[in-house]
Structures are given as structure tokens and as C-alpha cells.
Symmetry: C2
Subunit: 338 residues, 2 copies
DNA sequence: TGGATTTGATAAACCGGTATAGCTCCCGAA
DNA sequence: TTCGGGAGCTATACCGGTTTATCAAATCCA
């Protein structure tokens, strides 16, 4: 027989559909003896709930969504997303909730997806990444009343739940380390200026500079691509008073920067120290291996899932959870200046 | 008012639910005038179908699934998956079908997911990757009667639909190119031996060796990790008659191999030519940039989606589609031997 | 002991669509 | 003039669960 339904179980157990439903969901209304009997029969018939039928009862769909808005070609180099995804899933699988993943071209398309998901009842909540300054998605999700959690940034004034790491603190730890090594000319090759975390990192560098006695500490924004990372590095290293250390906002840009240094005959870490804000296998494969900030991205995802489930369970609450601070993994690309 | 239903539309249009359903699905049963009126009202009320309600009618769920069975930590370095995913989605979005993505630890867990999906009616079909020799998933999916398409390998004797590229041909083009440059000692650092494509590539090397007059052409299997790639390279380069060219089955291993060569004072491409079977930003960031086999992974995914939709529409058919041949992108890591 | 409450279970409504049997017109052919 | 038949639409059952109103029997308490 194909796919047993609760009606089949009811017939076999000699009870009503309702009783079976109560038994299977662990709610009161049946005696322990009956419950046990029903559960055993369900087990025997290897019954599984029909997800659509469940979802129809205006209840949850047991599915959450995640949209990544990036042009396809810039995606996938960073292990960041893969680890984040694994983490999110490990957080969800405990409750056997599934994840819908979508990759779209831009934020407009992303919002369109949220509207569709909301109106079609496809997900119970969503996870947001790459939060920008004045992000339009926050307002939209509030309007749609779709539970959401923001990763890596606070969701506006108590608007959405969030899971975030202290970028400021992390950046300070990098700059302080470089200053302690003796560097006085430090450059910061940042990411897209409209990302919230980019702003926070830039501010951290600017605020710390005077205190650490830095002569120079410019932050230069890019589109996160390897080519812009390389171009900016070329420009920095061509200056008469070139920096003795560069901090890159991503591992890909750091690797590109290392390539430029080698091509220009600038030795690393002799003439130039390099630090990547993101760690991955990339930074470890280099020669010299790059000093990088390591974050537990997997755990990040896991916590996001947890917070989202809380928010779904009680749509009123807004949770802002701060995760463990990232740590600086020192490798071969940093040393005192010549 | 929250979420209009077809009943609301029916009331407003002064017709029955059935008529509305006919009109919205473009099937006969209503006059053109009525249809037009209903469509306009639906548009005004911004009606969207409730996916669960649709799915309940024993029909399709408009959702397909994809499970990637890899330990979280080895995942995400290769842009391969990200591009594949984007491609799959672009193929699906035309029909506004959503994608469920799951990352699990091993094949056992993967099969468990298929069972759950099938019994809970969560997906209409699935996409398989990383096909192994005697893959247990093929049998399982046949048993579950879940439409499926295999990416990168044939699905057994007409068992499942598939989309594949000619690995043999691709490998031949690499080896022939190296032979033409004058290389006679070529090593092949392969992936996991139980993958079908690994087997095909190994066979291609073995078959071509005599014809091309190669003195030596060993294929050495690994677990695809950078560390094993490095270890094997170290061993190869320590031999008295070391190879003058190495072909790596993945970009990550090729990069690791390049690192080993540099660390051992073996110049690339002077003393050693390196070719990666997979292209990505990684290979381009290196110095020297690596010669690599470029595949249109995005298109691969798109075609897989297409074939899957065909298979879902008509569960009887088995489509085996061969995609465009990959091309060798020559960069700086290959040259005639010294 | 009798009325009030609790327990264990049932029948039926409901969620939002789809599918189908059947009804009413209206037209054309015999 | 009657009958067949198709177009256009309605009413209703159905999909597989959840939930609620209802009810009988058991239990409790004064």
C-alpha cells in the first residue's frame, strides 16, 4: 500500500482520526494505553506526515528560507557561505525543519522572493545576510510579518532578531597587533561601502589610529573582487611612503594583494605585512601563509537557526545575540617592519 | 484583508470557486469574458496560490531537492557547487519551482533524506551529484519512485536521467597537450577512487599513455583535500625520475601542489608544468596562474534542471544529455620541459 | 448518594485549492 | 417540434491532516 494516512491508522487501531492526530502529536486527549497502541501501528505502517496537509491548517510549514543576492560569478569563492549553510542546517535539523536556498541577482529580486514566499506560505521565516546601511529588506519583512533573523548586523532599532559578531573589536585586535609589531603606516582595503560591517570596520580603524600613534591609516573601499583588491594594492605599494602593513576585508582580496606584492618585488612579511579579515583554506594554501582572523562560521549559522526558531515560535520577541569573538590566527605573513 | 483565497475572488466576481480555479489555471470551462473578469479581480486582490493547498491535491509540490553529502569542512572551497546551484536555479525559476538544498555528512544520511522527502511529499524530484561506482542512491531512488537526474555521470543502465560531460575526452585533451609540449613523464593526482568520474579520468590517462609514448603516467588517488594533494606532490617530486608535468583533479589540490613545488625549489613552469582539471578564481589568483580545464558549470546546472523537469513531467522517460565539452585554458603554469 | 468535574474519545468542520458530476441554457439537425 | 449535444457554470466531494464541539463514562467531593 502506498503512503498510509492517519485515516488508515485510525481504521487499523479502531479509533477516530482525531484520536490518532492527538496521539501522534503528543497532546492530551487519549489515554496512555491507546496512545502507545496508535504509535506502534503508525510505526509498523511507517507513517510519515504529509507536509502539505499539515501546512494547510494555517500552521507552520516547517521550512525556512535563505536568499543570497549576489551575481553568480562572484559567488562561491568564499567558503563563508558553505560553512554558514552547514551551520544553519545543523541548527534546523534538530527540529527537522528544511531549508530553502535561493541565489538571486540583486536585492530587488530578493525582496520579490520574500513576497512570493510570504504569500504562498512557503516558509515560516527567513535568514538575512549581507546587511547594508538602511537596508530595504528590513522594512519589507516587517511589513510582510515574516519572522526573520539578520546575520552579521543588528536589524535596525529592535526591528528584527539578529546574530552578530563584534566587527569593531575584531578590527581593533588586528590593528593593535600590527601597531605592537611596530607598524605605523597601515592601510585597510575594505569591502563594499554600503555594507554595515564595512562601515563598522572602517570606523574602528579610524578611531584607533590616533591612540596607537599611526602616521597613516586609510581605508579604501572595493567591490570585494580580487581585481579591485589587486588594483588598490598596486596603487598603495606605488606610493612614496607606502604602507608597511595592509589589512584586507576578505581572504580573496588578501590573496590577490599578496600576488601583487610578489609581482612588484615587495617581500612578505619583510617589506609588507598582510592580514586577512576572513580565514579559509585559501589563506592557508599561500606561501607565505596569511595571518587571518578566524571566525567560527559554522557556529554562527547554527546560532542564527536557533534564534530564528525562537522568533518563529514567538513572533513578538526580538533576540539580539552576540557570538563569540573572532580570534587572530598568526601565520607567516606578519612581522615587524624592516 | 490578509491573504485572499479563491473563495474570496469567487464571491467578489459572483461566480463559484470552481470557475475561479478554471480561470486561474487557463483551462476550459469558463467564457473568455468571465475569465478576464476573474483574472482582473485576482490581480487586484493580489492573489497568490497557497502552495500547500495545491500540493495537497496529490499533485506536484513545485519544489525539487538537492543533497550534497560532504563533511562540512571540505565543502565550500570549490566554486563548483555555487555555480552549479545558480545554474540549477536559473533553470528552475522559469517555472517558478523552488529548490531545497541540504548538506549532510555522508551517503547514508543522504538516502535517509530522500526517504523522508518522498514520504512527506516535499519534493517532486531530486538532483544527484558526486556519483560513485555502484552508487546505492540510484537503486534507492528507483525504489522510491522519485524522479531524479544524475549530474556528471550516467545513471546506471538507463535507470535515471543524467547530464554529463565527457571526462575522458577532457582528460585526453590535457594529456595530449602536455605530450605535444614534449612531456614524457606525466603524473595524475586524482580524487577519491570511488567516484565514477575519477575512474574515467584514470582510464583515459592509462589508455592514452602508450599511444603518446609516455614513459610514465601514474594516477594516484587522494581524498580531494589540499593536504593529500600536497603530500602526494612532495612524494612525486622527491623521486629520482620525477615527473615534468602533473595533472590535478581539482583546483584546490593543484594550488597545494604549486605550493609544494615552490617550497622544494622546483620552478613552475620551468622544471614542472601544472594543470588543474577544474577552473576557478583560485587558479587565476596564483603566481604563476594555473593552466586549467574550464567547464561551464552554470550551464551544467541549468541543463540538469531542464532534464529533471522533463523527467518529472513524464516519469517514464529517461534522458541522457551530454553537455558541451570543456576547454583547456592555458595560462602560465605549462611549458615545454627543460 | 447525587451533582460537578475530569477523562477519553468521536464526529464534523476546516484549511485552500482541484476535479468531477450534474444542471441549465441555447443552438442546430432530424 | 423534439432531441442531442456542447458551452458555461455550480455544487460538492476530496486531498490529509488539525481543531473544536459534543458526549458518554468514570471519578471526585461534599
Amino acid at each position: 500500500m502506498a503512503r498510509p494516512t492517519i485515516a488508515d491508522i485510525a481504521t487499523r487501531a479502531g479509533v477516530s482520526k482525531g484520536a490518532v492526530s492527538f496521539a501522534l502529536n503528543g497532546r492530551p486527549g487519549v489515554s496512555d494505553a491507546t496512545r502507545e497502541r496508535i504509535l506502534k501501528i503508525a510505526e509498523q505502517m511507517s507513517w510519515r506526515p504529509h507536509s502539505a496537509a499539515r501546512a494547510l491548517g494555517a500552521a507552520r510549514v516547517d521550512s525556512v528560507g535563505m536568499v543570497i543576492a549576489r551575481p553568480a560569478r562572484t559567488l562561491g569563492v568564499e567558503p563563508f557561505f558553505a560553512h554558514l549553510l552547514s551551520g544553519v542546517q545543523s541548527g534546523l535539523s534538530a527540529e527537522s525543519i528544511s531549508l530553502q536556498l535561493l541565489i538571486v541577482e540583486d536585492t530587488a529580486a530578493e525582496i520579490e522572493v520574500y513576497r512570493r514566499w510570504a504569500s504562498e506560505h512557503r516558509v515560516d521565516g527567513v535568514i538575512l545576510v549581507d546587511l547594508t546601511v538602511k537596508d530595504p529588506r528590513v522594512e519589507e519583512l516587517k511589513a510582510l510579518e515574516l519572522p526573520a533573523v539578520v546575520i552579521g548586523g543588528r536589524g535596525g532599532k529592535g526591528a528584527l532578531s539578529s546574530v552578530w559578531a563584534d566587527d569593531r573589536d575584531a578590527m581593533l585586535s588586528i590593528v593593535e597587533y600590527l601597531a605592537a609589531l611596530g607598524h605605523r603606516r597601515i592601510a585597510h582595503v575594505a569591502g563594499t561601502p554600503n555594507f554595515q560591517h564595512t562601515q563598522r570596520r572602517i570606523r574602528a580603524v579610524r578611531d584607533a589610529a590616533p591612540r596607537l600613534g599611526l602616521l597613516e591609516a586609510p581605508s579604501l573601499t572595493t567591490d570585494f573582487s580580487d581585481s579591485e583588491g589587486a588594483a588598490i594594492t598596486r596603487k598603495l605599494l606605488s606610493q612614496p611612503d607606502r604602507p608597511t602593513a595592509i589589512v584586507y576585508d576578505s581572504d580573496v582580496m588578501a590573496v590577490a594583494g599578496l600576488g601583487v606584492a610578489m609581482e612588484m618585488g615587495v617581500t612578505v612579511p619583510g617589506d609588507l605585512s598582510i592580514v586577512a579579515f576572513d580565514d579559509s583554506i585559501l589563506t592557508q594554501l599561500m606561501h607565505p601563509a596569511l595571518t587571518a582572523l578566524s571566525r567560527d562560521t559554522f557556529d554562527f549559522g547554527r546560532q542564527a537557526a536557533e534564534v530564528l526558531l525562537q522568533t518563529i515560535a514567538d513572533p513578538g520577541t526580538v533576540v539580539n545575540r552576540r557570538t563569540a569573538n573572532p580570534v587572530l590566527t598568526v601565520r607567516e605573513s606578519t612581522a615587524p617592519p624592516a
